[in-house]
Structures are given as C-alpha cells and as structure tokens.
C-alpha cells in the first residue's frame, strides 16, 4: 500500500507559456494517495494544460513536479506511464476492432499474456472495483460509458496509482455519471490518487475531497470540499460574486410556428440519426433539447436549417413543408431562420475572415450586381462590437484569432441581427466562460420576449431546466418525451434520456 501521508503528486510553481499566452502561471497542486482532487476552472483557465504536463504531453517552462516524493521530469507519455500516472482523455483512445481485454493489453510493456489469462485478469480487476464488464466485447459495440470503463481498467491493469480524468462526465448520462463516481470512490478506497477535471460544480461537491481552483492560468486556492458550497466555489472560479440564477421570463404569444412530423434522417453512413421525431416549436418560448451527445441533436438542427436531407417526414412552417428545400430556398420562402451551429468556426463562420466578411455571409447575395457591398456589413459589425461588448483588435481581424466567447457573440449576434422568427442554437455555451454564458442566456431570453421561437440544444441539464420553457428529450434519435421545464424533475428527464425507464438500469 502506498503511503497516505506523502503526496502522490506535488506540483510547485508550474509555468507554461504558448507564444505570448501564459497558460499556466506558477501553479501549485497536490494530491495524496486515497484522495480525489477536483480541478475546477472555467474554459481557458489552464486545467487541461496542467494535466497534459503531468501526462507528458507538454513540458513545463519552469517549476517542479514530484511524484511520490521524488522530483521528476516527465517528457513523454511513456515517462508518465512509468511513473504510474494514467490519463483518461475526453476522446477515448481505444482500437475499435479490439475486444476490451485486447484494448487493455495493447501498449502494455512486457510480454503478451495468453488471451485466457488476460481475460481472467481483466475480470479480476473489474470485480475489485465493483464493475461488471465483458472482456470479449469489441470497442465499437460499446457504449460511451463502457469505453470509459475500459480506459479506467487500462490504468488499473498497468498498476498505475494516479488517475487523471479530463471532463469525464461530459459524455455520460446522469445515471452513468453516478456509476462512474462509484467506481472512482472504490478506487479511492484502494489507495489511488485521482484528479478529476470539471467545470460542473455539483459534481465537484459530490465526488471530491479537495478542490483546486484555477482562474485565467493562475492558481487561486485549494479548499476542502466539505467546507465549501457552490456559491463560494463560483466566486473563486469567476473572481467575484455572481448570481447563478438564470432568468426565465414567461413565454409570450406561443403559437406553433414549426411543426415537425415523423421526421427521419439518415447519417452519411446509412444509420438512422433521427427516427420518427414529431414535435412543435412555438413562438415566444425556449424549447430546450436534452439528450446525451450524439442522440441526433446535430442532425435535427441541420435538417431544420436545410443542410441535410430528410429521409421522410415533414417540417411544416405555417403549413408549408420545408423538407427537401435548400437553405437558399428556405430563405426565399420568407422563413427567417437563425441557426447557430455546434461547429462555430467550421460551419457558422469563416474562420480566416474578419467580422465584416462574416457579417455578410448570409446576405452577400442580396444586393443586385456582381459586387459585394461590405459597407452595411461593416456598420453592422461595429454596432455588434458595441452592443455585445465584443473584444477584438478590429472588425477585420480574422475571427479565428478571437476568444471562444467573442466568436460566439459574433455568430449569435449575426443570427439575431437577421431578425429571425425561429432561432436554432446548438450547444451555444459550450466552451464559454460563465460571463459569456450568461450573455448568451440573456440574448436568448431577449429573443424569446420578442416573440422568436428559440430552440436551445444543451448539454447541462441544470441550465436546460432553468432556461427552457419546455424540454424535449432525445435518445438514440427518438423523441422520448417533451416535459414542462417548470415542473419536471431532473430524474424525470434523466430517465427519458436513456429511453424512458426500460434501459435505465442498464
């Protein structure tokens, strides 16, 4: 058993710069064996950079790292592995056609064990932390949470005592999150040191023993979880007191503007992304869409926007079917549809152009004649900078050089300026800091009060429940339910997210 009094990892004064950006500025971090440390911070606060240095992907410019009391230099992932540090990234690194036990064996130093022995070992380890896993299941057949479990087993199999998880719950349902936390707790009981990166406060409170808070690359504080609460953590994270309440004005008007009937959409690979979805979008309200990532949300909004063809079904806009029409035709029909896609720089904006070029993306064709007229776009860009407090050196600076929050303000701002009747937003606060997130919520509420039908595809259930009027839940491409956001409980929605009870225990 590892000593519990000394630190598993002790970082002192870690500094890392990228060009002129100081990603980590003299950061201290300690974690003991048998302890779960949460690393809390907004996007861009340097959490992932710090963890990448522990796992050998980056090398710090200065500062010292001690593992189990000894000063070390970790210059490659192999070094980290030897030191007993295992990292689980947001994107899993499994070989699709390998079975669970093959995936666990691959890349492990030493002689290859016979499959039978390997299988037994995997079973043994998984049972030791209270897990049931089929060692012969292939990675491509696994659900996201099973894949994550395999990643964890990989770390345990190699006897690594230090586990780092980078936002592990982002891809999990609430039930799966609970299960993951159980696993982490039993690993803690076995004496592992665990660092979990997250920006979700309730998870920090639920799982961790201590919390280290980073803000804008700087070390802020480390607190005992038991002695803190959400409000204090937010204050440490953002740097000032902030109201966590999201406003929810009452809906206005509420007429059905889009009626989706039996819509089915296929992915390019032929599988069904959406299956017989039927629902209504109403003016003057925010329709939240909940579901685990990849349940068909992306295809749903792209289909409404005319970007991907429907297999069957109809999207009725005042009795007119929009299915099969191109985005240009939809605009010509007089449908003012605003769409904020998930991939902001790859779809919503032209990354290498400035704000001016991006403002006219959808309207460049409106004036007659062969030439573009950048003058109105420039005025619009300047007005938007003023109104949404966008930080950019100039309206001609390529948007890819702007920060995530500002990029989103440009995109959302442009869509709002087009005075839409329907505004579809896919993960509009993903990757944004708290401030920018609240700006986005305010803008959406403002649109709702103007009578715009807002569709909000979100990943954070708490936000969805506070912001939306109604919540539609999707699971495997099917609409499993539409609930009233004011009365529904989190458990109701969580159940619908996995298909409405049947598979909830799975």
């Amino acid at each position: 058993m590892a000593p519990t009094d000394s630190y598993a990892i002790e970082c002192r004064g870690i500094t890392k710069t990228f060009g002129s950006v100081v990603a980590n500025d003299h950061i201290d971090l300690t974690v003991r064996y048998g302890e779960i440390l949460a690393l809390l911070g907004e996007n861009g606060s340097g959490k992932t950079t710090l963890m990448n240095m522990l796992s050998g992907i980056y090398h710090p410019d200065s500062g010292s790292i001690r593992v189990a009391g000894k000063e070390v230099s970790i210059s490659s992932p192999e070094d980290a592995m030897e030191l007993g540090i295992g990292m689980i990234h947001q994107h899993f690194k499994l070989v699709d056609v390998f079975t669970a036990s093959e995936n666990i064996a691959v890349g492990t130093p030493g002689k290859r064990l016979p499959a039978r022995v390997m299988r037994e070992k995997v079973k043994e380890i998984s049972q030791s932390i209270g897990l049931e896993i089929d060692p012969d299941r292939r990675a491509f057949e696994m659900s996201v949470s099973e894949k994550q479990t395999v990643e964890i087993l990989k770390v345990l199999y190699r006897g690594q005592k230090i586990l780092i998880l980078d936002e592990p719950t982002a891809v999990l349902t609430p039930q799966e999150t609970d299960k993951l936390f159980d696993i982490l707790r039993s690993m803690r009981a076995q004496g592992c040191a665990i660092i979990i990166i997250t920006h979700k406060l309730h998870e920090v409170l639920a799982i961790s023993d201590r919390v280290t808070i980073l803000r804008k690359g700087k070390y802020i504080d480390t607190v005992e979880t038991a002695l803190t609460d959400e409000k204090k953590l937010t204050e440490l994270m953002v740097g000032r007191p902030i109201s966590l309440k999201i406003a929810r004005p009452d809906p206005v008007g509420c007429e059905t503007i889009l009626k989706i009937v039996d819509l089915s959409v296929r992915k390019p690979d032929g599988s069904l992304a959406i299956q017989d979805a039927s629902f209504e979008v109403r003016t003057g309200e925010i329709l939240g869409v909940a579901g685990i990532a990849g349940s068909g949300q992306k295809e749903l909004c792209e289909c409404i926007a005319g970007l991907c063809p429907a297999e069957k079904g109809a999207i009725l806009f005042h009795k007119e079917n929009l299915v099969g029409k191109s985005p240009r035709e939809i605009i010509r029909k007089g449908v003012h549809l605003g769409f904020v896609p998930e991939d902001r720089l790859g779809m919503g904006l032209v990354a290498s152009m400035g704000m001016v070029g991006n403002m006219m993306l959808k309207t460049y064709d409106v004036p007659k004649g062969p030439f573009v007229d950048p003058a109105p776009a420039r005025r619009q860009a300047e007005a938007l900078v003023e109104r949404l407090e966008i930080v950019t050196p100039s309206v001609d600076t390529p948007v890819r050089l702007m920060s995530g929050g500002n990029v989103q303000k440009v995109l959302l701002g442009r869509e709002i300026e087009s005075e839409p009747q329907v505004l579809v937003t896919a993960y509009p606060v993903r990757g944004l800091d708290i401030n920018s997130s609240y700006t986005v919520y305010d803008l959406l509420n403002e649109q709702k009060q103007k009578g715009v039908a807002v569709v909000f595809i979100g990943e954070d259930l708490d936000v969805l429940m506070e912001l939306s009027d109604r919540i539609m839940v999707m699971c495997h491409g099917q609409v499993t339910g539409v609930v009233d956001a004011r009365t529904a409980t989190k458990d109701d929605i969580a159940l619908l997210m996995v298909g409405g009870g049947k598979e909830a225990q799975a």
């Binding site: 990228f18 002129s20 090398h59 985005p327 896609p341 779809m347 919503g348 062969p370």
Partner: protein
C-alpha cells in the same frame, strides 16, 4: 532534446522579414553551390541580373518568358483559393493552345479583327472545358482532383503528339512530324517589341485582383475554400461554385496557351506549355495567392531564367545549374513558412527519467 513548438501568428511585417531573410540565405546557399563549381558567386549573380536587363532585347526576352508564367499563375491561383488542387495547368495550357491552333491553321484567311477574338475565345474554352472534366467528377463522385488534373496533363500532351504526327502534320516539312508555322495573319501583334500578351497579362492581374476581392463570386470562392460546411450553411451552391471556378481557372490557363502558341511559338508543339503549368503553381504559392504579388514573383522567376541562359553562354554553365539555384531559392522560401508558425526550443531538463 529539441522540440517543435507552435507560436502565435506573426504580423505581416514579421512575415515579410522572414521571407526576405530566407531569400538572402538562399542566395548564400546558392553562392556556396556556385563556389563549389569553381566560379565566383557574386560575378555569376551579377551576370544573371545584367543578362536579364543588359539591353532592350534582353528585357524584351525576359518579359516574353514572364507572360505565360504570370497568366498561368493567375489561373491556378483561382482554384487554389478554393482549395481545389488544380495541378493540371500544364494540360489546360496545351488544350487552350490546341483549340486556338485549329483556327490559326484552318481559318487564317479570316480578317484579324475576327480571327484574334475567335482564337482568344477558343483558347479560353479549350482550357476551361479541360478543367471542367476533373471538377465535374469531383463534385459528382468525389474523385481526387490532384491525381485527376495531373493525369489529364499527359492526355493533353499526347494529343498534341498525335496531332503533329497525324491530322495536323505539316505536309511541307518533308515528313518531319511538326505542325506548320502559323501564317502572318494568325500571329499576335507586338507592342513595344514584345507580343501583345503582356498587356493581356496585366489586364488579367487587375481583373483577378478585383474579382477575388470585390465580387460576390470572389467572396464565394473564399468561403468555399475555407469550409464547404460554412458555404452550404450560408446557402451557397457549392457544386456550382466549384464548377464555375474551375472553368475560369482552366480558361485563364487556356488563354495562356493561346497566347504562347500564337504570340511566341507561332506554331503548336508539345513544348507549348514547357513546364510553365507547374512553375505557375510555385509562383502562385510564393505570391500567397495574391494577383499583384504574383506579378512580382513571376518577374523574378523570369529574370532568373533569362539570366541563367546568359550564364550558360558566357561561362558554359549548364542551365540545369539555374534549375538548382531555383530549387535552392524555393526550398528556403517555402521552408521558411515553418518558422512563421513554429519554433524550436530546447528542453532544459533532458532525458525524462527521474533526476
């Protein structure tokens, strides 16, 4: 241990300084090469410059080299802006020349105010249609445009071989497989002692500059080049834009072929493109896909080429040495792009094991 680290984007002045430094380093490296051959590099460089400018005739010859290079560079630039890897400039030049040659050979009796425009349009169509073939297969079936355009070069080349050995063979050449020289009426006039193509090239530079920067179609090309998803999102018809842009790209190359055949060569031969379609790619990239800069780059390339032919006659150095010099310059200037985005850093703590 040395590692590569990404750095923040440099501004245009720093970028220019790096390019300049790369060019000077290339001259030094080239100088070493010349030194190795036993010549004085300064003398050789001076001869290259004077060779290109020493007389009115030399200057005219330099410009003559520059015309096809510049026009072809403008052509490929258009497709590169759209991230369509058109390396078929060579073939498009040849097809432009073939189409124009048809009228030069068989309708030489037409008055020149009709014949020239017809040849011009024929050249344009020849190159444009040739470029449309890979574009069509790209948008319909997703074929690889790089391979497709490259292969079409050879088809165009051997088409000319066939024409000069078969249907278009000059009967008065005593069985030698060549196409007849064009009649006087089908040869482009000269302005200031150089064929009129240089005016066409300058006009095209201006047109393309305006087209790319100020027109809706130019805007569409930039958006499609950046991301097809964004273009679709904006309601653009990506297929149409790809087809149209490739046609125009090929059409400009076709004009280049027509001008080369009827202005400089006065006949059609397999050497009508002579590698210009490939060099044009380099010119376009070095000019960072800017029409105005490509004017400068094409000029510099022509000076090097003309100058090195003088080197050959004065010092007996093979023109292949000029190619080596060209290669060295390219290596440095293209290689320096790396230093605009990355830098090397040394690990202060080497090894990786516990210290």
């Amino acid at each position: 241990m040395i590692r590569i680290v990404k750095i923040k984007e440099k501004n245009s002045r720093q970028t220019f300084a790096i390019h300049l430094a790369a060019f000077l380093l290339a001259l030094c490296a080239g100088g070493l090469f010349i030194l190795m051959l036993g010549f004085n590099p300064l003398e050789i460089y001076a001869t290259i410059i004077s060779g290109a400018f020493r007389s009115k005739m030399a200057i005219q010859a330099t410009i003559k080299i520059m015309i096809p290079l510049l026009i072809a560079a403008l052509g490929v630039m258009l497709s590169f802006k759209m991230r369509f890897w058109n390396i078929g400039g060579e073939g498009q030049i040849i097809m432009g020349a073939v189409f124009a040659t048809y009228f030069a050979l068989f309708h030489a009796d037409w008055p020149s105010f009709i014949l020239f425009p017809v040849m011009f349009i024929a050249g344009l169509l020849g190159g444009g249609l040739w470029a449309l073939i890979p574009a069509f297969f790209k948008v319909k079936f997703g074929t690889n445009e790089t391979l497709f355009t490259l292969m079409l070069n050879y088809i165009a080349l051997y088409l000319v071989s066939w024409l000069q050995e078969g249907p278009w063979r000059d009967p008065s050449a005593n069985g030698f497989p060549k196409i007849a020289s064009f009649g006087k009426s089908a040869v482009l006039p000269k302005v200031f002692g150089v064929q009129i193509g240089w005016i066409v090239a300058l006009v095209l530079v201006a047109v393309l500059f305006v087209y790319l920067r100020y027109t809706k179609q130019g805007y569409e090309i930039s958006v499609v080049g950046e991301s097809q998803a964004t273009a679709t999102y904006a309601g653009m018809n990506v297929q149409k834009i790809v087809l149209r842009t490739m046609f125009l790209s090929g059409a400009i190359a076709g004009i280049c072929g027509m001008i080369q055949a009827t202005g400089s060569d006065r006949t059609l031969s397999t050497g009508v493109a002579g590698g210009v379609g490939f060099t044009a790619i380099i010119v376009a990239w070095l000019a960072q896909l800017n029409p105005i800069s490509s004017l400068v780059i094409a000029f510099l390339f022509s000076v090097l080429e003309k100058g090195s032919s003088v080197i050959q006659s004065t010092y007996g150095l093979s023109t292949d040495c000029a190619d080596v010099l060209q290669g060295i310059i390219l290596f440095f200037v293209l290689g320096c792009e790396f230093f605009i985005r990355y830098k090397f850093v040394r690990d202060h703590k080497g090894g990786g094991k516990k210290c």
